[in-house]
């Protein structure tokens, strides 16, 4: 069944392109240290807000132009005519770097930020945080959602009513404010680099409730089906029924729900980091990088390259959403909206 779904995903042109985009993004995240020319926190204060360096083809080599700072107050750079530095490939454990002795020279494919750090490098390293947060988050959400939902639906009675009231309680909490409060309460006990995990776990432990609801409903209908009665009749245990008979029959829902909720985690992390409550400097994440773009200077002086993390968030979220939609159409053709 899972294999069939996967084959149909590959046959659909739209979902195939989403899969390719996502695969590329994840590959970039995995190989970030190799693909990026610098460590993510290397600064160059003389080259703050440096625009993307132009790459030219000269003397049968790819070379980057050298820039000089013409107006430090407005961070204005101008290329020096005729002066270039060649790019070296596969050097020092990196895919590419500059072939020069000058340690102030930089290749900025996507410009630099307020402290002269390479945006391209930080995008790749930030992807590691922003892309894994969703995966870790949904595995917690879906596990909790399935266990609580299926147990409630299958056992019924007291357990069901207690758990469902608890779910009501969780659903009634405004998520953003709870996160803010949690972040404030937890902050003293965790170093800022561990905050990442705390945020995922906090997000996941709030959002499992809605999937538990749906799973409970599905379990209620599945447990009435005769193959569950048959399993009970042959003496199958409760947990075996849950995992052998109920889980496989809700797995397609879990798959779709998981795909559609990954973007929520990515956006959640972005929102928190944007507010300064998520990942802390000098770590990189897309939300944190985007928060630099909120300063008036960036806005007025049109440093567009600082908005690239937003663009990547946009692409990732769209890709996951479309993938989820196509998955849902495959799993449940009756929900299909287009012919």
């Amino acid at each position: 069944m899972t294999r069939q779904i996967f084959i149909r995903l590959l046959r659909n042109r739209i979902s195939l392109s989403c899969l390719i985009i996502l695969a590329l993004l994840y590959l970039c995240a995995i190989f970030a240290p190799f693909l990026s020319p610098y460590p993510p926190s290397t600064q160059n204060l003389k080259k703050a807000f440096h625009p993307p360096t132009a790459v030219v083809f000269k003397d049968w080599k790819l070379q980057v132009k050298v820039y000089e700072n013409i107006d430090p107050s407005a961070a204005q750079y101008q290329a020096i005519e005729g002066e270039t530095i060649p790019i070296k490939f596969f050097t020092g454990g990196k895919l590419f770097g500059l072939d020069t002795e000058d340690d102030q020279a930089r290749i900025y494919l996507l410009g630099s930020d307020s402290t002269g750090r390479d945006v391209f490098t930080r995008l790749l390293h930030g992807a590691r945080v922003s892309l894994t947060i969703g995966l870790v988050g949904i595995s917690i959400t879906m596990t909790l959602g399935f266990v609580v939902g299926a147990l409630s639906g299958y056992l019924g009675g007291k357990f069901d009513s207690v758990m469902m009231r608890y779910v009501d309680f969780l659903l009634a909490i405004p998520t953003l404010y709870l996160l803010l409060a949690l972040r404030a309460a937890i902050a003293p006990y965790f170093p800022s680099d561990k905050m990442f995990y705390v945020i995922i776990i906090a997000l996941a432990f709030i959002t499992w409730s809605s999937s538990a609801r749906v799973i409970r409903g599905m379990t209620l209908s599945i447990r009435q089906r005769q193959f569950v009665l048959a399993a009970e009749n042959m003496g199958q245990g409760k947990f075996a029924i849950l995992f052998k008979h109920i889980l496989p029959n809700v797995s397609s829902y879990l798959l779709v729900a998981a795909t559609l909720s990954i973007p929520n985690y990515i956006l959640g992390e972005a929102a928190l980091s944007f507010l300064g409550l998520g990942i802390q400097e000098p770590e990189a994440s897309w939300g944190l990088m985007l928060s630099q773009a909120k300063s008036m200077k960036v806005f007025m002086l049109n440093f567009w390259w600082l908005l690239t993390p937003g663009f990547l968030i946009f692409i990732t979220v769209i890709a996951f959403n479309i993938l989820g939609d196509v998955l849902r159409d495959i799993v449940d053709p009756k929900m299909k909206t287009t012919s």
Binding site: R225, Q226, A231, N233, G235, Q236, K244, N249
Partner: protein, 265 residues
């Protein structure tokens, strides 16, 4: 107490579901699904249980295997009182008493291969059996119910209704039961397929010495397979006689009505 010739004796069985009303969920009434049913199933024989929808026949069958809660009454199986056993002590009887379900499209897990479906009771009751022995047993069972060895790796949706009911029967037979509750096993099937399944059940009875409680709403099917017939309506048994007597000389009004509903050529 009980007659050793009978494999199953049911005495004054009641299954009542409480009706709760109001905020405090007080029990104000009860639905009497089965209301004082008494009958016995002789060893190696088939007892037919017939009645309209909602008459309590399925609930009676389910109460015997503890899929429905028993309000009162006793059930003797081979002289042992099994009606009041807890979950653990009842476990051995889950092997001896098997059930065949009404809806062949619903009684097999759509996400499991045939080999796993039939081997599931083996996993529970024959934990020491090796995987290859289990596979041999599955193939043997498939052949016994008239299916092919090549079917083991298929999924239920690849089979017709009649074939699925055969798979259901193979699953029930896997643990070598003595007694089977057949809950309308042919109601969902075409008439021609009904005859095949009924004949298969009869052949298996002759071969394995099984006893059946055969539940149906169709008197024609019941008459064909049963030795004794129970007629049930509104949770009570209104007539109890041998299959011929029911046909030749129905006593109760309700039985006459049921008989007049059987299409004649």
């Amino acid at each position: 107490m009980s007659n050793p010739e009978n494999i199953l004796e049911v005495k004054d069985l009641k299954v009542h579901y409480p009706v709760k009303t109001g905020i405090l969920q007080r029990v104000t009434d009860s639905v009497k699904a089965v209301d004082g049913v008494t009958f016995e199933v002789p060893r190696g024989k088939t007892v037919g249980l017939v009645g309209e929808s909602g008459s309590g026949k399925t609930t009676t069958g389910r109460a015997i295997v503890k899929l429905a809660p028993i309000t009162s009454g006793t059930i003797w199986y081979n002289g042992e009182d099994i009606g009041n056993l807890g979950k653990k002590p009842f476990f051995p009887y889950r092997k001896k008493i098997q059930m065949i379900f009404q809806d062949p499209f619903n009684s097999l897990n759509p996400r499991m291969r045939i080999s796993r479906i039939i081997a599931e009771p083996l996993d529970i009751h024959f934990k020491d059996m090796s995987p290859s022995d289990k596979m041999d047993r599955v193939v043997e069972l498939l052949k016994k119910v008239g299916l092919d060895e090549s079917h083991v790796n298929r999924y239920p949706h690849e089979f017709s209704g009649g074939q699925r009911q055969r798979i259901g029967i193979a699953r029930a037979l896997a643990v070598e039961p003595e007694f089977m509750v057949c809950d309308e096993p042919v109601s969902a099937l075409d008439v021609s397929v009904q005859a095949q399944i009924v004949n298969l059940l009869k052949d298996l009875q002759d071969e394995l010495g099984l006893s059946y409680l055969f539940i149906a709403h169709d008197l024609a099917v019941i008459e064909h397979i049963s030795d004794d017939v129970l007629v049930m309506t509104n949770g009570k048994i209104v007539e109890q006689a041998s299959a011929e007597d029911i046909y030749e000389n129905p006593q109760h009004d309700y039985t006459r009505k049921l008989l007049s509903a059987v299409p004649k050529l």
